[in-house]
Amino acid sequence: MTGSFDLLIVGTGGQGVILASNVIGEACIIEGREVKAAETHGMAQRGGSVECHVRIDGRFGPLIPPGNADLLMAFELIEALRYRHYLKPGGRLVANRLVQVPTSVYMQKLEAPTEAKIVGQLADLAPCVLDADTKATEAGSPLTQNMVMVGAGSLAIPLERQSLEEAIRRSVPKKTIEMNLRAFQLGREAAGECR
C-alpha cells in the first residue's frame, strides 16, 4: 500500500542477521532513500530465533505485516519455515541450507527436522537454497555467511550493487572488508544460478 520493498531477514542468535540488515539500511542512505527497520534485541539473542524487518522506501512503521514481504532471507531452514507466512504471494525466498536443531528438541526427545523435509515444506515457494557456510569459508571465513546471504538476496533487492558494496565497506571491520566483499560476490553468483 505504501510502496515499500519489504524484506524480512531471519536466523538464529549469533549468525550476523543484524549486521546484514545494517548493510541494507546503509545502502538505502547511500542512495538517499527512506528506510525503516525493526530488530530483535536483548535476551532473544541468546541462541533464540532472530528476525529483522527492513522496509526499503519505508515511510511509516518498521514492522512488516504477515503476507506482505517481497523477500525473505533465511539464514537457517527452520527459521525459513517459521517466517514463510510473511511472504506475499509471489514473494521470493532465499535460504541457507543449514539446519540448526534447537537444543530443546533433543531435550524433549522430539523428532529433529531434516534439510530434505524442510526444503519439501518450502518447495511451493520455489526457494533459492544455497550453502552459505561453504561459500563463506571460500571467501575467507565462515563468519562472512551473512554477507553471502546479502549477496544472494541482492539480486531481488531494489538497490544498486555498488551501494550495497559501499555499505559493506562502511559496516564491517576494516581488516575484513575484502573478505566480506568476496562473500557478497560469491552469494550473488550462487543466487544467479538459482534462476
Binding site: T2, G42, M43, A44, I78, L81, R82, V101, T103, Y106
Partner: protein, 594 residues
C-alpha cells in the same frame, strides 16, 4: 546536518550529545540500555557518564546534577521507574535548574519484561510533562526539545519511547554535537530542597499552579496535531499513530498525541462535529479517557469498549483489523498464519554458561526445595526446573525469607545475579539474617550485567567510562550483612561445588554460596581459549544425561551424543557423563601443551 541510518536508541543518544547534555546516568534495562552504551564510547562531546547501581541511585544522581545547573539525562526501562518512583514523585516539587530528561522506555507486549506498565501514568501521577515519540526521527527531535522544555518549565521532563521506537532503525537527520558546557553549582535553598512538611505543602501548590503553563507550552510545540477531514476521527498516540498513518484512508480525521498533559480545549474543539471517534494507543487507555471526557454524546471506541486490544502491542496488522472491524477500511484478505508445529527456538543459556552447572548442582543437592530466583540470563533456569519465582529486580532473597517464614516445610534455595544482588538484593539478604530466616542464597557471579549487553557493575573492575576500579567483594558485603556461612566456588568445578552446597545444606540460618565464573561471552571477548570437548561414540551409552543438561553444544547425531563447534571448553559435560565418554579433543589438547 547529516542523514544517518540509526537505531532508535542511537538517535536518542546522539540527540543528548547535540543538546549539550553534561551528565548521564542509568541502570541497564531492555529496551533502554544502548543509550548509555553509546554515550560512554562516543567521542563527539565530553560528558559525565555512569552506570549506576540501580535506577533510584541513577535518578538521584542526575536530579542533583540538574539542581546544580547541568543538563542531565537518566535512562531506565519502565519497571526501573518503580525503583526510582520515590525521588520522581517529589522531583516536580523541587523542580530543576539545568534541563533534566528522564528517559523511561516502555515495553508493550513485555518482549523482555515482567509487565506492560505505562509510564504515561507516572507522568500524570508526578505532575510532570511527558513526551511520547511515534518514530525514530521524532524521538531524536523530542530529546533535544525535552532539555529545552525542562529548562523553560523548571521541571523534569519524562521521555517515554517504546520498544518499537528504541529498537527500530530509520533514516534520521541528525545535527552537530552541542558545544555548551556547564559547571555545577548547588543553589542552597532549604525552602526548595529540604522537603519537610512546611516546605512540601507550598511546593505542591506551586507545582499545581505551573500545570496550565505546562499544558500551554506543550500545545505550542506541535506534538499534538489535529487534522479534520470527515465525520469519523481516529486519535492515536505513540507508535500506534505511525501504524494508523500508514493505512489511514482519505476522508477520515486524524489526531496525533505525542505530549502530555493534553490541552483539553484543543482536544474538545477537534472532537466536536464528528459522529464517531476511534482511539488507538498502546498501553493504558490514557488518551481514550481524555477523549471520553470531552466527547459529550459522540460515541468513542477504544480499549474501554473492547474495540482495541487492552494488552500487548499494536502492529499494522492489528490496526488494520481494528479499522476493518469499524468499517473504516474495506475488509482485506486476512493475515496468513504461521506453519503449525515448527519447533520452538526459545533463548537458551550459552554453551559454557556458568549458570547451567550451578543449576545442575542445586538440583542434585536440593531435590525438593523451593527455588525463588531473579532477573537476568539465569531466569532461563526456568527451562531446567530451578526457577520458581521471578517478579522484580532484587526480590529473590526477600521472597526466600518470606516463603521460609510462611511455614512451608521445604528448604528454600534462592538464586540471584551479581548485578541484581547489588541493585536491590542486599537489603533482602540483610533483612533475612536480621529476622532469622533459614535459607540458602546462591549468588550467580559472572562479573557483569550480562543479559542487557555486558554493562560493567561494581564487581566488574571497570566503570562505564572505562576507568579501572577495584571490584567490590561480594563476600565482604554478605559477611557485613551478618552471614557467617559465605563460600565461593567455581561452577566449572562441579564436584567441589556440590561438596560446598552439601556443606551449606547441613547448616542452619542464612547461608550464601557465591558461584563465580566470568560470563562465557566476556571471557571469549577477552581472549580466553579452552580446549573443546568431544564424545567417544564407542563409549557413549546414550543414557541422555548430557542431552538433559541442555547445553546447545551437545546434540544427537546418528543416535549418539555429539559436541558441536559451539563448545567453549568448560568441561562440565565430561564431569557429568557417567560412562566417561566425554573428554578434551586430543588433537587440540596436544597443541595446547608446551
Amino acid at each position: 546536518m547529516a542523514k544517518r541510518y540509526l537505531l532508535g536508541n542511537e538517535a536518542i543518544a546522539h540527540a543528548a550529545v547535540e543538546a549539550s547534555a553534561d551528565f548521564v546516568s542509568g541502570y541497564p534495562g531492555t529496551p533502554s540500555s544502548e543509550v548509555i552504551d553509546i554515550l560512554r564510547v562516543q567521542e563527539e562531546r565530553p560528558l559525565y557518564v555512569e552506570w549506576s547501581v540501580n535506577e533510584k541511585v541513577a535518578f538521584e544522581n542526575a536530579l542533583a546534577a540538574a539542581w546544580c545547573g547541568l543538563r542531565s539525562l537518566v535512562t531506565m526501562k519502565h519497571v526501573g521507574l518503580n525503583v526510582a518512583a520515590d525521588p520522581l514523585m517529589t522531583s516536580g516539587y523541587t523542580g530543576v535548574t539545568g534541563g533534566f530528561v528522564i528517559m523511561c522506555a516502555d515495553d508493550p507486549f513485555a518482549h523482555s519484561s515482567q509487565n506492560e506498565q505505562d509510564t504515561r501514568f507516572y507522568a500524570r501521577f508526578a505532575h510532570l510533562p511527558c513526551l511520547d515519540p511515534a518514530t525514530v526521527q521524532e524521538a531524536h527531535d523530542m530529546v533535544i526539545d525535552a532539555f529545552a522544555l525542562s529548562e523553560e518549565l523548571g521541571l523534569p521532563v519524562i521521555f517515554r519511547p517504546t520498544t518499537r521506537v528504541c529498537h527500530s532503525k530509520s533514516d534520521v537527520v541528525i545535527g552537530e554535537a552541542g558545544k555548551d558546557s556547564r559547571k555545577g553549582n548547588f543553589p542552597r535553598d532549604p525552602k526548595r530542597f529540604v522537603l519537610i512538611p512546611a516546605n512540601a505543602r507550598p511546593l505542591h501548590k506551586a507545582l499545581d499552579e505551573k500545570l496550565p503553563k505546562v499544558t500551554k507550552t506543550l500545545a505550542g510545540r506541535g506534538y499534538n496535531r489535529f487534522e479534520r477531514k470527515g465525520k469519523t476521527a481516529i486519535i492515536a498516540g505513540g507508535i500506534g499513530a505511525t501504524y494508523v498513518q500508514e493505512i489511514l484512508p482519505d476522508g477520515i480525521s486524524f489526531g496525533k498525541i505525542g505530549a502530555y498533559p493534553v490541552d483539553w480545549g484543543a482536544l474538545g474543539d477537534f472532537v466536536k462535529g464528528h459522529r464517531k471517534i476511534l482511539v488507538i494507543e498502546e498501553g493504558e487507555p490514557i488518551i481514550e479517557e481524555l477523549v471520553r471526557q470531552v466527547a459529550g454524546g459522540i460515541p468513542v471506541s477504544g480499549k474501554l469498549d473492547g474495540v482495541v486490544p487492552a494488552e500487548g502491542e499494536l502492529s499494522i496488522s492489528a490496526v488494520s483489523a481494528i479499522l476493518e472491524g469499524q468499517g473504516i477500511i474495506p475488509k482485506g484478505a486476512g493475515t496468513p498464519g504461521p506453519v503449525p508445529n515448527v519447533p520452538m527456538r526459545p533463548p537458551i543459556m550459552c554453551a559454557g554458561c556458568m549458570h547451567r552447572p550451578t543449576f545442575f548442582a542445586i538440583k542434585k543437592v536440593w531435590r525438593d526445595a523451593v527455588y525463588p530466583s531473579d532477573i537476568g540470563c539465569y531466569t532461563l533456569g526456568l527451562q531446567l526446573g530451578v526457577v520458581d519465582t521471578t517478579i522484580c529486580m532484587g526480590s529473590a532473597p526477600s521472597l526466600a525469607s518470606g516463603i521460609n517464614h510462611s511455614g512451608d516445610p521445604r528448604e528454600v534455595v534462592a538464586t540471584i545475579g551479581d548485578s541484581t544482588f547489588l541493585h536491590s538484593g542486599i537489603p533482602g539478604l540483610l533483612n533475612a539474617v536480621y529476622n532469622g530466616a533459614d535459607m540458602t542464597l546462591i549468588i550467580l557471579d559472572n562479573r557483569t550485567t550480562a543479559m542487557t549487553g555486558h554493562q560493567p557493575n561494581p564487581v566488574s573492575g571497570t566503570t562505564a567510562g572505562g576507568e579501572v576500579k577495584a571490584p567490590v567483594s561480594l563476600e565482604a558485603i554478605c559477611r557485613a550483612c551478618g552471614v557467617s556461612f559465605v563460600e565461593t566456588v567455581s561452577p566449572y568445578d562441579l564436584p567441589s561445588m556440590i561438596e560446598v552446597m552439601k556443606a551449606a545444606k547441613a547448616q542452619k540460618g542464612v547461608r550464601v554460596l557465591i558461584a563465580k565464573q566470568p560470563c562465557v561471552i566476556t571471557a571469549r571477548r577477552a581472549g580466553v581459549k579452552r580446549v573443546s570437548y568431544s564424545v567417544d561414540r564407542d563409549a557413549c551409552t546414550v543414557c541422555g544425561t548430557c542431552i538433559r543438561f541442555g547445553c546447545p553444544a551437545i546434540e544427537m547425531i546418528d543416535d549418539r551424543a555429539a559436541i558441536n563447534e559451539l563448545c567453549s571448553g568448560c568441561g562440565v559435560c565430561a564431569q557429568i557423563c557417567p560412562s566417561g565418554a566425554i573428554g578434551p579433543k586430543e588433537k587440540e589438547a596436544k597443541e595446547a601443551k608446551p
